[in-house]
């Protein structure tokens, strides 16, 4: 337990204070549907001393707490550690960005599990179009931008950047599929087809992935 908390503390850096309590109230970064019920979490941690539920709270002046946590607020039978830091209103973007980074990089949460209204409020839709826009809109924009960006890539950008962005997209797809599989067993069929013919997916990703270079 202590090592987990130390890792979180190290990742967050200076200015964060930890308390053994649930967050008071606030707006949650994740969509409600992707958060676990407290009863589920309680049954999972029963009999395991090493289990701790971690919440990260960006407390904006004026009474708005933006909370990242994977368990809904409620009666929780597990130890809960809340890391809090106060931010001024002018730092709203940086505060929300920190929570998104923690969610996606440390907890490996797929982007589509994040509540788009929080991202819109923070004005971060340009940075995270996959969260705010409808998937159809994102794909249309990518295909519209693709020829222009491809030209730029040929002129300026090193090929490894393009490969990196494709890899990012493949990782994101894998996360989405894994998550869908948890919610709906029918997605096993999709995963099977991807495994049977990975080249088809790779072609598709490389065609659309260049829009993000």
């Amino acid at each position: 337990m202590a090592s987990v908390l130390r890792e979180v503390e190290t990742w967050l850096g200076e200015g964060w204070r930890m308390r053994w309590e649930m967050p008071q109230r606030g707006v949650y970064l994740l969509k409600e549907v992707y958060m676990a019920e407290p009863s589920e979490a309680s049954s999972y941690c029963r009999g395991r001393d090493s289990f701790v539920v971690v919440y990260i709270v960006a407390s904006l002046e004026g009474g708005l707490d933006v909370v990242y946590g994977r368990v809904k607020p409620g009666v929780l039978g597990c130890p809960a550690a809340t890391f809090t830091r106060r931010f001024s209103r002018a730092e709203t973007k940086a505060a929300v960005r920190t929570l998104i980074d923690f969610a996606t990089k440390v907890d490996k949460v797929p982007l589509f599990q994040i509540n788009p209204d929080v991202i819109r409020f923070a004005g971060l839709c340009d940075e995270y179009p996959l969260i705010c826009e409808d998937p159809a809109v994102v794909i249309n924009r990518l295909s519209a931008d693709a020829p222009k960006v491809r030209r730029q890539v040929e002129i300026q950008v090193k090929p490894e950047t393009s490969a990196k962005s494709s890899l990012w997209l493949v990782e994101e797809l894998a996360r989405i599929l894994r998550d869908k599989l948890e919610l709906d067993g029918g997605f096993a069929e999709v995963l099977k087809r991807v495994i049977e013919d990975p080249d088809r997916l790779r072609e598709c990703v490389s065609r659309h992935g260049r829009g993000y270079v």
Binding site: G26, V27, E32, V33, G62, G63, L64, D65, R89, A90, E91, T92, K93, P116, D117, V118, R120, F121, A122, G123, C125, C132, E133, D134
Partner: protein, 222 residues
């Protein structure tokens, strides 16, 4: 404590002068302070909220609000919820016409944060809407709905009047919510806010278009 003279639906009302007049200077200052990471003045804040109505409830969390609409504001500020009922009051017109459009949710409900329960209310009480859009739009809803609504319905509001639409029926219920939608789509303004600002003529001017079924029998053209 802030005491606005209007309910949270003002955030879908596309007239900044009305925001200033009804919310008050202190509220406006607080609004600009809370949204200064995306806007520098009141006009920009208003535009940002009109385009992203879901952001309003989040930005106002923790605000203390009193005044005549304190219950609506408290619900909105603390939980991001807005009641789905119709707000505008329409003068009575006898009308037994039926419209097969199930839209029993006010456009104000766009301000409510999309929890599981709120989604259920949208699907259940505004089922017709999902013939025209696949999901509740969270960005530029006015533009999305202006394109999505069928033309015959928009035309009905203009030719027969919003009052006539309000007193038509869907099953045993009146279409008051639908009248609010048509008024909002045509003007970008909320009818009950216009009524508070005593622009009754703007709201009810199309009542003159309304045909009274009894009058048709009396005045038969020769």
């Amino acid at each position: 404590m802030l005491k606005p003279r209007v309910d949270p639906c003002i955030f879908l009302h596309g007239d900044v002068e009305d925001w200033v007049a009804l919310l008050g200077d202190d509220f406006i200052r607080e609004l600009v302070r809370r949204f200064r990471h995306v806007a520098v003045d009141m006009d920009q804040v208003a535009r940002y909220i009109l385009e992203n109505p879901g952001a309003a409830g989040i930005g106002l969390r923790g605000l203390e609000v009193g005044g005549p609409y304190r219950r609506e504001w408290r619900l909105f500020v603390e939980s991001g919820y807005v009641h789905p009922g119709a707000r505008a009051v329409w003068p009575y017109v006898p009308n037994d016409e039926r419209l097969d459009v199930r839209l029993q949710v006010s456009p104000c409900f766009l301000l409510a944060s999309l929890s599981r329960d709120v989604r259920y209310v949208w699907r259940n009480r505004a089922a017709s809407l999902f013939k025209w859009v696949s999901a509740v739009p969270r960005h530029k809803p006015l533009e999305v709905f202006r394109e999505a609504f069928p033309l015959w319905l928009r035309e009905l509001g203009r030719s027969r009047g919003y009052v006539w639409v309000a007193w038509t029926k869907w099953r045993d219920r009146r279409n008051r919510h639908l009248a609010e939608w048509l008024y909002w789509l045509d003007t970008g303004r909320m009818p009950h806010v216009d009524a508070i600002r005593r622009r009754a003529n703007a709201v009810y001017e199309t009542a003159g278009c309304t045909k009274k079924s009894a009058a048709e029998n009396l005045y038969v053209s020769s």
